[in-house]
Amino acid sequence: MPYNIAMVSDFFFPQSGGIESHIYQLSSKLIDRGHKVIIITHAYKGRTGVRYLTNGLKIYHVPFFVIYRETTFPTVFSFFPIFRNIVIREQIEIVHGHASLSSFCGEAILHARTMGLRTVFTDHSLFGFADAASILTNKLLKFTLSDVDHAICVSHTCKENTVLRASLDPLMVSVIPNAVVAENFRPLSNDSRAADQGAMSPVDQRPQPAPIGPDDTITIVVISRLFYNKGTDLLIAAIPRILALNPNTRFIIAGSGPKAIDLEQMLERNVLQDKVEMLGSVRHEEVRDVMVRGHIYLHPSLTEAFGTVIVEAASCGLYVVCTRVGGIPEVLPQHMTTFAKPEEDDLVVATSKAIAALRSNKVRTDRFHDQVKMMYSWRDVAERTERVYKGITGDISPEEFYGSYPGQGWEVSGDRVRSFALIDRLKRYYGCGVWAGKLFCFCVVIDFLIYVFLEMWFPRANIDIARSWPRKPPADKSHSSNGGRRDQ
């Protein structure tokens, strides 16, 4: 049955990034499956009010004070009146928040629970437990997630992290990976025929592409923001050694950031300007054009929840060399990747191995695109997210949704189906900590009082119901090619 879903996050277009495109792709695929989806975000510069994107995806840009990197100021309550208005107007049943650093998302989940709606939270990033910033963020996340109906993480490592940070029941956390729009990341050789070939095309009948000779130039592509946590220091240390060890090798580096100056200094000190091409920052739609110029994608990141970019690179037919951190080892199969430790020496060794493997033509990179296309698609993500929605709304029974694993120690709690009774909610919040628990309960009580006040002052009857975008019939099963909407 179709649901009315509100995606809430601070991060959405016009800003571009992984979370933004995740929300957009997921929403549009859910609409394809017959649901009604709206997105609530804060007002960006030059982007205010209500907007419609393709396919009737409705965006509410709520005016709000932005403090840092498009994150709004956490006010806990001030978002409630307009949120309630939007929710009633759009007849929302499920509120789905994204990104743990977004205060919009946390507040929306709190208010939604007060209003008696089901909530889902998607975590896109990893956090440690050590530094002060993490401790604060983790407390806030605990506040957000104490009462959430279900959480979604993008990788198993991310799930472990979220379960620990928010003290969640692991069965209330699903792992649904990100995906890529494989059509947008086609390798060069695939350009012409990919459109008319089905997913199950007999790849073996394809002629083997021209093999790489021992003297041909191998191009290594790096596309990342040049920050410390993206491993730019490793990259800076490794590039001269990789180039010295492997003649006929070139680098293409796209991206900008505070470490760009270090990278340029390294190039000048080692006089590598003719071997390393720096492109600066590239737009997301140009990423594919940069990727297809290379043979190897190098990803030296130090922490990564999922690493969409390595999937994109593999989809472009690049052999991937990446560090074994975070959720990266789960993302791609062995034959597409070479893993390295986050150490300079090991990165050099792994890259040299990858170059040798490519030179000996052992790696069938021409098959990567079709394989990736089978592994990851937004359609699949939307289906799996829909199952989560069904589970929390009770359309599939809790036994089926949470499963019963007798004897494993998980089945003790009966609290998975979260009741809306205020006392039950307060109980959940009270367990968050000695002081934090009381503070959280205080916030919840105030939130509830505000809700009662709003119900009296601005009664529901006075709020107009928005007309829904005319629905298409739900996408049928025969519609096989992923993201086929774009090709029509």
């Binding site: 990893l126 956090f127 440690g128 437990f129 050590a130 979604i152 990788s155 198993h156 490592t157 991310c158 472990e160 992290n161 379960v163 620990l164 003290s167 029941d169 692991p170 069965l171 209330m172 956390v173 699903s174 649904i176 990976p177 946590n229 490793l234 240390a237 130090l302 922490t303 560090t323 074994r324 951190v325 975070g326 959720g327 789960e330 993302v331 791609l332 199969p333 062995q334 893993f339 430790k341 986050p342 150490e343 300079e344 020496d345 089978m374 592994m375 799996r384 199952r387 949704f401 949470y402 499963g403 694993y405 007798p406 004897g407 494993q408 120690g409 998980w410 003790v412 709690s413 609290d415």
Partner: protein, 509 residues
């Protein structure tokens, strides 16, 4: 349980086998092409029975879980060896892995992978792999009581010197103590401390030089043992000129970088001098760089010259110390009238509050480290601490009535906050008894000073020093015990979600 965990499996399998039917029958050995684990979670680390974490109750009360683990006395908990049953997946072509591939059993082996379509629900939690890379308190180092108390003496010393300074200031303000007498006593103490310190440095250097000379003397002896009287090159011997040249050359070599080393060894006829050169060379080289540049000139009779040059370099250093002391002295003298009227327009209350905060800042940001492994990381807080103290004494001095008062207090604060810590650090390295005695003396003086300030007279001083010592002893013991008892709340969680620390070899060429 899978086979490779057997080295660490006194652990009973926590999960009924029928849930994971293929685990037990997994015959694949851990091939080299399986996905190994991140390096920092290598299996060489200690393991612990993961059953505890597996059986814990579902709401996953995190603290409780940790406590139960800690109660089981595990430094590192719940770390399993890497999964081994992945290579059957990786060998497979992707096309086979779909619904068809995993339908060989309804419930195949759950894999911690995202790219495989699995027959498990998305919220399936695998009890064996879930959180298996979690490490708790991996680098915890338990404290012992007495070493902790011993280490706390450093803090006590500094706090006591601050207390003494404050009491001196109060005495000056209340006209009970003459500022000149304070600064005189302080200067005498500083002078004694400097002489001691200078002696230690001198001893250290002569020790080093003696070692060096000993090696070199042996060198000379051995090289001359083949021929006669090398130390007195009088030219009688037919070979003596050549030998003398050799010796000089050798010494020149020992002072210069070892570029000509081989060449010189090849000049020598016998083997053992060459061997000696080989030994002596690095030591002498380091000594040469350590000593003043004048010793780099080759001389025939080295030990005497070296000692003399060492002496002269020492003297030169002393001279420069005295010079800088005079510089500080006179600049303080010149600055005193300005400092006196610096905060005329500010109320005294603000001054007390400000200086209070500054002194607290001084105490909290003081560099209590031993100064051995202290790299450039501790430089900043140390300078912050000294600056705070100097500023505190400056604003305090501006409350004083005359230039002499101001000058005395400023000089005293320089001695207490600038020079005394250097002496204390050196003393601690030099002699532990001296360190303990100094601590005792400081505690008693500080207690006495507080007693005098509050009560007045000798009796209160004695009572104050007694109470102060008692209180300090209790505080040291109590804080140490408290810190040790707090250790059980230590809970560092490390896992694959932490940003990796990149290991980079710095090689700027």
């Amino acid at each position: 349980m899978i086979s490779p965990t057997s080295p660490t499996s006194p652990v009973p399998p926590p999960v009924p086998v029928d849930t994971h039917p293929n685990r037990a029958s997994d015959t694949n050995p851990p091939g080299p092409d399986r996905i190994p684990d991140p390096d920092r979670l290598a299996p060489e680390d200690a393991y612990f029975a993961h059953s505890l974490s597996r059986v814990r109750s579902v709401p996953l009360n995190y603290e409780d879980g940790l406590r139960s683990l800690r109660a089981a006395d595990s430094g590192v908990a719940t770390l399993l060896p890497p999964r081994s049953n992945l290579n059957d997946v990786t060998r497979k072509d992707v096309r086979k892995i779909g619904p068809a591939g995993s339908r060989r059993r309804r419930k195949g082996v759950w894999k911690k992978l995202l790219w495989v379509k699995q027959s498990y629900p998305d919220n399936y939690t695998d009890t064996e792999t879930f959180l298996d890379h979690l490490q708790r308190n991996p680098r915890v180092r338990p404290y012992d009581f007495w070493p902790l108390v011993a280490d706390s003496t450093v803090i006590v010393q500094h706090v006591c010197s601050v207390v003494i300074f404050i009491c001196c200031f109060v005495g000056i303000v209340q006209d009970r103590v003459s500022p000149v007498s304070i600064v005189c006593w302080g200067s005498v103490g500083t002078a004694i401390g400097w002489i001691l310190w200078d002696n230690w440095i001198w001893e250290e250097q002569t020790e080093l030089a003696r070692n060096l000379v000993g090696v070199k003397g042996g060198d000379d002896e051995s090289s001359s043992s083949s021929v006669t009287s090398a130390p007195h090159p009088s030219g009688h011997d037919p070979q003596s000129t050549g030998l003398k040249a050799d010796t000089i050359h050798g010494l020149g070599l020992s002072m210069s970088p070892s570029a000509h080393h081989k060449e010189d060894v090849s000049h020598l006829t016998s083997d053992e001098p060459g061997a000696f050169y080989g030994i002596a060379d690095p030591a002498s080289h380091s000594a040469a760089s350590f000593l003043s540049p004048s010793t780099r000139v080759p001389h025939a009779d080295v030990p005497v010259i070296e000692r003399a040059s060492l002496f002269s370099s020492r003297n030169r250093q002393r001279l420069s110390t005295v010079k800088s002391a005079f510089l500080i002295y006179f600049s303080l003298l010149g600055l005193s009238p300005i400092l006196k009227s610096l905060t005329k327009s500010t109320a005294s209350d603000s001054i007390w509050a400000l200086s209070c905060w500054l002194l607290i800042m001084n105490i909290f940001s003081f560099d209590y480290g031993s100064g051995e492994g202290a790299g450039d990381t501790t430089k900043f807080p140390a300078s912050l601490s000294t600056n705070a103290a100097v500023m505190a004494s400056t604003v305090l001095a501006s409350r004083l009535p005359s230039t002499t008062h101001v000058f005395s207090l400023m000089l005293f604060s320089m001695e207490v906050f600038g020079l005394f810590p250097i002496f204390r650090r050196q003393l601690r390295q030099k002699s532990w008894t001296g360190h303990v005695l100094l601590t005792l003396a400081l505690v008693m003086i500080a207690g006495g000073a507080v007693g005098t300030t509050l009560g007045g007279g000798w009796g209160s001083a004695v009572i104050g020093s007694f109470l102060g010592s008692l209180l300090t002893a209790f505080a040291m013991g109590g804080c140490s015990w408290w810190l040790i008892s707090l250790q059980k709340y230590k809970n560092v969680v490390i896992g694959p979600w932490d940003p990796a620390r990149p290991i980079i070899r710095r090689h700027w060429n």
